[in-house]
Each structure stands twice: as structure tokens, then as C-alpha cells.
């Protein structure tokens, strides 16, 4: 167990193993995204209340779910880098921020577009939407804070603290539709009770959520590989890698 943990901290090992994971996961992700999108857009039945605009759910919900999960990844990586001073965790934290920001942006954008035919407006200062906007700013804050510091060790610590403090926003996002009066509909997929969707609509949605989780993993690993190369410039493993290419 500890050998594996130590290996995880080794940049050449991480670079090599991430390359192997990506060789399998990347084509699988693209395939799942394509199948899930076509299934949801063209084959799933129409919602009797919202009409065909409901098909936005196949992009909006996966982006939102993974944007939230991405924040956990970033904050946990930040905590590991603070507690064990593990450089690889700091790399993961830094690299998770732009991926999470992009998915949060997609969640906000798709939600706004979905709002027009459903609520009659692109934007309302609703608890769920506002807390997602705060999540977007938290991701951007971590990215900006890292760039603001000359000393990258201090930058890593500051970003880890910010991402941990920002964790307070996550339960607020989850519970916002229950705590405040909201235009936003409650959760469609529930773990404790039966989902509010018919299985013919639910199956492509679950596939798209899985595909977005894989997309996050691929994007995170690709970002980490780029960052590891930059940090390792001049070291033996990067020199041998450049020579081998």
C-alpha cells in the first residue's frame, strides 16, 4: 500500500502510468459521449411537460454533477498537499481547477439556455444558480491565486487553503433547492428513493454522467502530464523522454 503511495509521488511513474490509462480511457470516453449524446438527443422520448427542451438535461446534469465532484477532487488534493506536503497532490489540485471551471461554465451556460424555454428567462438570482456561480468563481479564484504568487510553494499552500474553505459552498449547492424557494427543479436522480425519470430517459443520462466523469479524469491526467513535464524540465526523466520522442 505505502509503496504504491510513494510511487504516486514519483513524476516519471505518474507520467508513464497516466499515459497507459489515457490510451484506454480516452477512446472509451469519446465513445460513451457520442453514444450517450445520440441516445439522449435522438432516441429518448420527449418530456410531456417541458417538450424537447428537456434533452438539454443530457449535458446540463452531467456537467453540473462532475463540476461538483471536481471540486471535491481539488479540495482533497489541496488537503493532501498541505498535510503530507506531497507535490503530486499540488499538481492535481492546480490541474483540476481549469477542468472544473470549464464544466461549471458549461453547467451555467446550458442551464441559462434551458431556462429560456422553461422559465421564460435566461437568468434568475436563484439559490442553486447563484451558488453554482460562486463555485465557478472559486475555481477561477484558485487559478488566479496560483498565478499571482511568484513563489510556487506559497501559491500551492494558498490555493489549498482557498479550495478547502470553498468546500462550505458544496452542501449549500446540494441543499439549495430544499432550503430556499427556487425555480430550479429538485434532484431528478435520487439514491434513497426511486428516480423521478422513466428508465428510457434515465439510462442515457446515467451513461452521460459516467462519460463526463471519464472526461474529467482524462482532462485532469492530460493537464497533469503537461504540468509534470514543465516542472521536470532539465531532470533526467524528461531529458530521456524528449530524446525518445
Amino acid at each position: 500500500m505505502w509503496t504504491w503511495f510513494h510511487k504516486l509521488g514519483s513524476p516519471p511513474w505518474m507520467y508513464r502510468i497516466s499515459g497507459r490509462i489515457l490510451a484506454i480511457l480516452l477512446p472509451l470516453t469519446v465513445l460513451m459521449l457520442a453514444v450517450g449524446a445520440v441516445w439522449g438527443l435522438l432516441y429518448a422520448p420527449m418530456d410531456f411537460k417541458q417538450g424537447n427542451s428537456f434533452r438539454i438535461i443530457y449535458f446540463h446534469v452531467p456537467a453540473s454533477v462532475v463540476a461538483l465532484a471536481g471540486y471535491y477532487v481539488m479540495a482533497i488534493a489541496g488537503a493532501v498537499s498541505l498535510i503530507w506536503r506531497m507535490k503530486m497532490a499540488e499538481v492535481a489540485m492546480k490541474c483540476a481547477a481549469p477542468v472544473g471551471a470549464a464544466l461549471t461554465f458549461l453547467s451555467l451556460l446550458s442551464g441559462a439556455i434551458w431556462g429560456k424555454p422553461t422559465w421564460g428567462t435566461y437568468w434568475v438570482w436563484d439559490a442553486r444558480i447563484t451558488s453554482m456561480l460562486i463555485l465557478f468563481f472559486l475555481y477561477l479564484g484558485v487559478m488566479a491565486l496560483y498565478q499571482a504568487y511568484e513563489n510556487k510553494e506559497a501559491a500551492g499552500k494558498a490555493c489549498a487553503v482557498l479550495s478547502l474553505v470553498g468546500m462550505v459552498n458544496i452542501p449549500i449547492i446540494y441543499k439549495s433547492v430544499d432550503w430556499w424557494y427556487s425555480l430550479h427543479q429538485p434532484a431528478t436522480i435520487k439514491f434513497t428513493e426511486e428516480s423521478a425519470m422513466h428508465s428510457s430517459m434515465l439510462q442515457p443520462l446515467l451513461l452521460m454522467i459516467l462519460a463526463f466523469y471519464c472526461l474529467f479524469t482524462c482532462a485532469l491526467l492530460l493537464n497533469m502530464r503537461s504540468e509534470l513535464l514543465r516542472r521536470g524540465a532539465g531532470t533526467g526523466w524528461v531529458r530521456s523522454l524528449v530524446g525518445a520522442h
Binding site: 480516452l26 459521449l33 449524446a37 438527443l41 435522438l42 432516441y43 429518448a44 422520448p45 420527449m46 417538450g51 424537447n52 427542451s53 434533452r55 438539454i56 449535458f59 446540463h60 456537467a63 477542468v99 470549464a102 464544466l103 461554465f105 458549461l106 451556460l109 446550458s110 439556455i113 434551458w114 429560456k116 424555454p117 472526461l215 482524462c218 482532462a219 492530460l222 493537464n223 502530464r225 503537461s226 513535464l229 514543465r230 524540465a233 524528461v238 531529458r239 523522454l241 524528449v242 530524446g243 520522442h245
Partner: protein, 73 residues
């Protein structure tokens, strides 16, 4: 397929503009998330290869004929 024709799938009973706009944004963001870091790493490796390449040997500052002339005179 749920729709009768491609036109019906594009129109989606008037909701097509919203749905396909979200699809386009999703494609752009998903492709960007995968392509940009991969391209950045490839560029960095190319930069390192250029830096590591041996520099071309400097041309002699004095021509050989000039040296011969100087030694002959």
C-alpha cells in the same frame, strides 16, 4: 429514432435552437478540455528538443584564400 425526419430532429418542435446550442457549446468545451493540454505538452516537448539540439558550428571568420594569400606574400 424518436423523430420522423432529420428536419424534425433539428427543429425539435421549436426547441431545436436551444438544444443544439447547448450541444455545440458542450462539444467545444469537451474538445477543448482534451485537446488544449495535449497540444501544450506536445509543444513543450518540441521546445525542449530544439533547446537540446546541438548548435551548428560557427563559420570560420577568415576565408581560406585570405590565409593563403597572407602566407604567400
Amino acid at each position: 429514432m424518436y423523430f420522423d425526419s432529420l428536419q424534425a430532429a433539428l427543429a425539435m418542435d421549436g426547441h431545436g435552437v436551444y438544444v443544439w446550442a447547448v450541444v455545440a457549446a458542450s462539444v467545444v468545451i469537451c474538445v477543448g478540455l482534451l485537446v488544449l493540454p495535449a497540444r501544450s505538452a506536445r509543444r513543450f516537448i518540441a521546445e525542449l528538443r530544439v533547446d537540446d539540439a546541438p548548435e551548428p558550428r560557427a563559420a570560420p571568420s577568415v576565408r581560406i584564400e585570405e590565409v593563403n594569400n597572407a602566407s604567400g606574400s
